[in-house]
Amino acid sequence: MIISIASGKGGTGKTTVATNLAVSLGGGVQLLDCDVEEPNAHLFIHPVFEKKELVSTGVPEVDETKCNLCGKCGEICQFKAIVVIGKTVLPFQELCHSCGGCMEVCPEHAIREGERVLGEIELGHRNGLEFIHGRLRVGEAMAPPLIRKVRAFAHPDKLTIIDAPPGTSCPVIASMKGADFVLLVTEPTPFGLHDLKLAVGAVGILGIPCGLVINRSDMGDDRLREYAGAEAIPILMEIPFDRKIAESYSRGELLVDVRPEWKEKFLRLYEKITDLVKPK
């Protein structure tokens, strides 16, 4: 089973929920941090890393001795990632979406597939919990292909918890698609609610069941609960604001370590999720 933890708005507590849920469930669980632009789960899990691999994507490399400057590569490329200007062909590798069109179309077979590094994946563990995250190379624009590589480590027989990035565009979709359940972490503020509605829309397009965790549940206003009630989105857990929790979070400590009574609550959260997934 795959549970993806998303939010719309950033900073609502996705990583807090993902890490504490994973640690509460313990051995045999996988935690994949798919917020590859700003991965944070490792700062709370403190995993022992055993392996690191670079992840690349295909980009054109031109053999100028074979190229006759026909310009077909520039015609097919929708991303302006390869152009013929005067007597040279110029690949702009940072713009390339790796569709392979230029290689396929080149009549002289002058283009071969080189590589652009997207980032790296690190694999590790903590007390039987398997931990994997991606780190996008600073300056690289495209997160989704790296996210898909991180997700490829999901084991079909295991429980996989995914920490998704904020927002509602392609990196979030890449982190939610194919999940059995999306847990949306939000806060009862106007920004939290506005972005939650967008996230619920994205989950709806994907046709995945979802439920809410309300963080800092005693701040803000009632509009979030009214919305959840009207849309029949179940509220599965509420975490009130607690300065001690906030301070320990700031030091990279897990909620279940600082307030052990929360472990039970995260286990119950998991039970509620499995109940909601079952009917399928």
């Binding site: 719309g8 700003e38 991303f79 979406h97 904020p166 509602t168 565009s169 967008l198 700031s250």
Partner: protein, 291 residues
């Protein structure tokens, strides 16, 4: 004309509330919201749109099944697995590369332009604002960010305003890259947490990469004063201007619920005082004339 972009790396550090506060303090400016896939600034600014435009970018393949002979070439060539066994294209998976369109022997693939969202030119109580709405699950957020910033620049020029205040997106990927290019300066709003610190370092590296001068401020500073101090030292060591710290204050949430800026809501809170000082430093740092 100057453009200040507010970014953070980590989400939820207070970018939008701080941009809104600056909107209360700055004069002669245009507001732009570059967080196009989860835009929130309008919830405080209450903009009245004077112009509304479709945002069109990229194409999406559509197979015309009357002409398709199911030869399978498109499915072989598509690197995004966007074409199903019954030859329909999943729009969400289609990257718009046009490879299937080009190679289809039957010319059975249409390639219409996609409408991915909308953008608006609006009036607010603080002056003009350019903002947008990316369709849910759509692509091309970077192009929409670039468009919003360009239109904000045009609005500033038309009204002879000398500042663009841009609310940036979280992260370091495509929309953040699109927010930074060519900006006069970036203000990183971070928080004194391990995650805030980690993410600030990465987004600061990105700003360095694009040669955009960096300023740093710490929000919710009293949640971990040691970490706030470390961030200040880090910034100074790296040659970034450290422009101040803001205490953790429920007034941020209260102002948001009321649809007001922190300055409008109560100008006498400690947070409001800190924001005024920060704005003073930021504006002198980027060379704005004093109001």
């Amino acid at each position: 004309m100057k453009e200040l972009v507010i970014i953070s790396g980590k989400g939820g550090t207070g970018k939008t509330s701080i941009v809104a506060a600056f909107a209360s303090l700055a004069v002669n400016k245009v507001l732009s919201d570059a967080d196009v896939d989860a835009a929130d600034l309008h919830l405080i600014m209450n903009p009245q749109a004077t112009e509304r435009h479709d945002f069109q970018a990229g194409h999406s393949a559509v197979i015309n099944l009357d002409q398709c002979t199911a030869c399978g070439l498109c499915r072989d060539l598509c690197r995004y697995n966007a074409i199903s066994e019954d030859y329909t294209v999943t729009r969400m998976d289609c990257e718009g590369c046009g490879v299937c369109v080009y190679f289809c022997p039957e010319k059975a693939v249409d390639f219409p332009l996609k409408t991915c969202g909308e953008w608006y030119l609006s009036e607010t109580r603080f002056g003009p604002m350019v903002h947008a709405r990316l369709g849910i699950a759509e692509e091309n957020s970077g192009k929409l960010v670039t468009l919003v910033r360009q239109e904000a620049g045009k609005a500033a020029e038309a009204k002879k305003l000398d500042l663009i205040l841009t609310d940036g997106p979280p992260g370091i990927g495509c929309p953040v890259i699109a927010s930074l290019g060519g900006a006069s300066a970036a203000l990183i709003v971070t928080e004194p947490t391990v995650a805030g610190r980690h993410d600030m370092e990465r987004v600061a590296q990105l700003a360095d990469f694009f040669r955009v001068p960096v300023m740093v401020c710490v929000n919710k500073a009293d949640l971990n004063p040691d970490s706030a101090r470390d961030i200040r030292h880090y910034a100074e060591q790296k040659g970034y201007a450290f422009v101040g710290a803001i205490p953790f204050d429920p007034v941020f949430t209260k102002a948001m619920v009321a649809g007001r800026t922190v300055i409008e809501y109560d100008n006498h809170t400690e947070a409001a005082g800190a924001l005024r000082q920060i704005w003073q430093k930021v504006s002198s740092h980027i060379g704005l004339r004093a109001a």
